[in-house]
């Protein structure tokens, strides 16, 4: 497959090997690695060492929007055409709590999902090689690099026990 991003793609069968490789690559100033793994793995995550995802902010603000939306909806609609029921006040806040709560959850969770999609999309993986094995039992590490660096990178990767290294240039 023709790819636009030049670099080296390595398959790892061993998690510690992959982790070490990543650390060393970062140490040797390689940026913008892409690490593929079939499952969420703390060891790799630590090795990559990205900051905590901002998803939580989306969830928080959406939740707050939800609660206020819920209450204002109920209150406004009750007083837009005031109809008396069971001798209760027209705007009976306690009974609107449920609405407020449900909308909090609804907005919050929807926003969270959207957040994942948007945030993941912000980092484009376009042109980076991928291999089906990565959704099976291999860890993949792709190192973007110039052709002249490739040899060194390959050596580094195999050094950490990469089972298969391909060069895309």
């Amino acid at each position: 497959m023709a790819t636009s991003v030049p670099g080296v793609l390595a398959h790892f069968a061993h998690v510690d090997g992959a982790a070490d490789a990543i650390r060393e690559l970062k140490a040797t100033g390689h940026k913008d690695l892409t690490v593929y793994c079939a499952a969420h793995n703390h060891e790799l995550e630590a090795a990559i060492g990205d900051p905590i995802s901002p998803v939580r902010l989306w969830t928080l603000f959406a939740g707050l929007t939800g609660v206020s939306a819920g209450f204002s909806l109920a209150i406004w609609m009750s007083s837009d055409w005031p109809l008396l029921v069971g001798g209760k006040p027209i705007t009976a806040i306690p009974s609107f709590v449920v609405i407020g709560f449900e909308l909090t959850i609804l907005f919050g969770s929807l926003a969270t999902v959207i957040a994942v999609i948007v945030l993941s999309a912000m980092k484009s993986l376009k042109g980076r090689p991928y291999h089906p094995k990565f959704s099976d039992d291999h860890i993949g590490v792709f190192v973007p690099c110039r052709a002249d660096q490739a040899a060194a990178v390959e050596q580094l990767l195999t050094g950490h026990g990469s089972v298969e290294v391909t060069r895309d240039a």
């Binding site: 499952a39 793995n41 990205d50 449900e102 999902v113 945030l119 026990g161």
Partner: protein, 454 residues
């Protein structure tokens, strides 16, 4: 991760085997038995639709309603199915937060059950109302009448609770599925590859994706947890905020939630025990899991036991003749059999699970699970009808005999539920590949080095 190292639930497998075994459930050719099952479910669904059409044509008179019993089988079944749903979310969300490892193998199945159960439940309020074709009047939308629905009505709370629950739980299911679908995509070919490719939303398992995904999943779980507790509380308030003796109880919310989880796990057992055989995943869903499920059943069942006792006690202690009469007649009135069916199936049968022998014997467990389903349906039936049957004005008391229109719709609802579930387990990973993998430590080069890098 040290925890997992000592985890008895840890299946002795590699990532590769997990992928292979789970995908096998999808890629293997469907058996004759599968088609028979599918056909039966489709037929029952047709029965459901047929009966509903009759109701639409002739009116609710076809059902057994006998005033003052204005709610009966349909509302009973509605609560029943909503309850079923709760186990799923409990296992997938609450146990996730509690980091209880045994959930992993079963949560996908239970979560699917949740979604389909809620989908089934959502039919019933519509079937139940007198003018089904204008059910949407319960939704607040701008209209020519300048009228809004009544937010003080518990039924409206229901609309919000159920629709939120359906949305969130299905979102939760789909999000969890994405990486697995990607795995499927990578191991099938042809049109299926295209299909799963589209569904996987371009998932590659890159670090940039996992980074947000893992967080998001945590928050979803965190949101789903209060939701699952709230939904059945709201459902219980459909009854509890009324002034009907036998409904008007402060204990209702926790009582209903416990009951819901109890019934839900009952249904999980009923589904999983045969399923693991059919799909040959016994080595992933093991006695260990069922033991834990049974313990959960025992726990919630015991809560129910307490709740039942408390209901009768409060009725007596309240000194209110209305409450007293209602509960007296619940146990010794014309419908005594239903009252006792509920107590025996739920309060007593669940106590058998104190014995490990029974807990770990799948046959006995399966039988018990059937009792649980029955008992919980009757619980709702009793709460709904027997309370209405004899309230304040003795002159207006009544009794009810459900008719074919009631029974066929109840039966059909199982078909509708089953249809979705059957389709699901054959086309999507019924065991969560990526989460199982997460629990299986990957091979290491330096065996000496301790696992984990924190």
């Amino acid at each position: 991760m040290a925890v997992i190292a000592h985890d008895p639930s840890r299946p002795t497998q590699t990532h590769g085997e997990v992928t292979r075994d789970v995908l096998a459930t999808i890629t293997s050719k469907p058996t004759k038995g599968y088609y028979i099952l599918l056909g039966t479910m489709a037929f029952l669904t047709a029965v459901l639709l047929g009966t509903v059409t009759m109701l639409l044509k002739e009116g609710l008179g076809l059902a057994g309603y006998a005033p003052p019993i204005m709610w009966s089988v349909y509302i009973t079944t509605f609560v029943f199915w909503v309850g079923i749903g709760h186990a799923g979310t409990l296992i997938s969300a609450i146990l996730f937060l509690f980091r209880s490892p045994w959930r992993t193998a079963v949560y996908r199945a239970t979560e699917a059950m949740t979604v389909f159960a809620v989908m089934t439940a959502a039919l019933f309020p519509i079937i139940h109302i007198g003018r089904q074709w204008i059910f949407y009047w319960l939704i607040p939308y701008p209209n020519a009448r300048y009228l809004w629905p009544n937010f003080k009505s518990p039924l409206l709370w229901d609309v919000f609770a159920i629709s939120t629950y359906l949305t969130v739980s299905s979102t939760f299911l789909m999000v969890g599925l994405i990486p697995d679908i990607a795995a499927v995509r990578d191991h099938v070919s042809g049109w299926r590859k295209k299909l799963y490719g589209a569904l996987s939303l371009g998932w590659t398992g890159a670090d940039s994706q996992w980074r947000h995904y893992s967080r998001a999943y945590l928050y979803l779980a965190a949101l789903a947890t209060p939701l699952v507790l709230s939904v059945h509380s709201v459902v219980s308030w459909d009854f509890a905020v009324s002034i009907v003796p036998g409904w008007h109880g402060t204990i209702f919310a926790p009582y209903f939630v416990a009951g819901a989880i109890y019934s839900g796990i009952g249904m999980v057992l009923t589904l999983m025990i045969p399923l693991r055989k059919v799909l040959k995943v016994e080595h992933m869903i093991t006695d260990y899991h069922f033991d834990n499920l049974s313990k959960l059943t025992l726990f919630t069942g015991t809560i129910l036991f307490y709740a039942y006792g408390m209901e009768y006690f409060v009725a007596w202690y309240s000194g209110s003749t209305f409450e007293q009469t209602t509960f007296w007649r619940r146990a010794f009135g014309p419908a005594w059999w239903a009252g006792w069916a509920m107590i025996i199936c739920n309060a007593f049968v669940s106590q058998l699970l104190w014995f490990k022998k029974i807990r770990t014997n799948l046959t006995s467990l399966f039988i018990i699970s059937i009792f649980i389903n029955l008992g919980m349906w009757f619980e709702r039936y009793v709460i709904v009808t027997s309370s209405l049957a004899n309230d304040y004005i003795p002159y207006a008391w009544g009794q009810i005999n459900p008719t074919w229109a009631d029974w066929l719709i109840l039966l059909g609802s199982f078909g509708w539920f089953g249809l979705w579930f059957t389709l699901f387990y054959k086309n999507f990973p019924i065991v969560a590949i990526q989460e199982i993998k997460e629990m299986i430590p990957m091979p290491r080069r330096k065996v000496s080095s301790h696992g984990g890098a924190h």
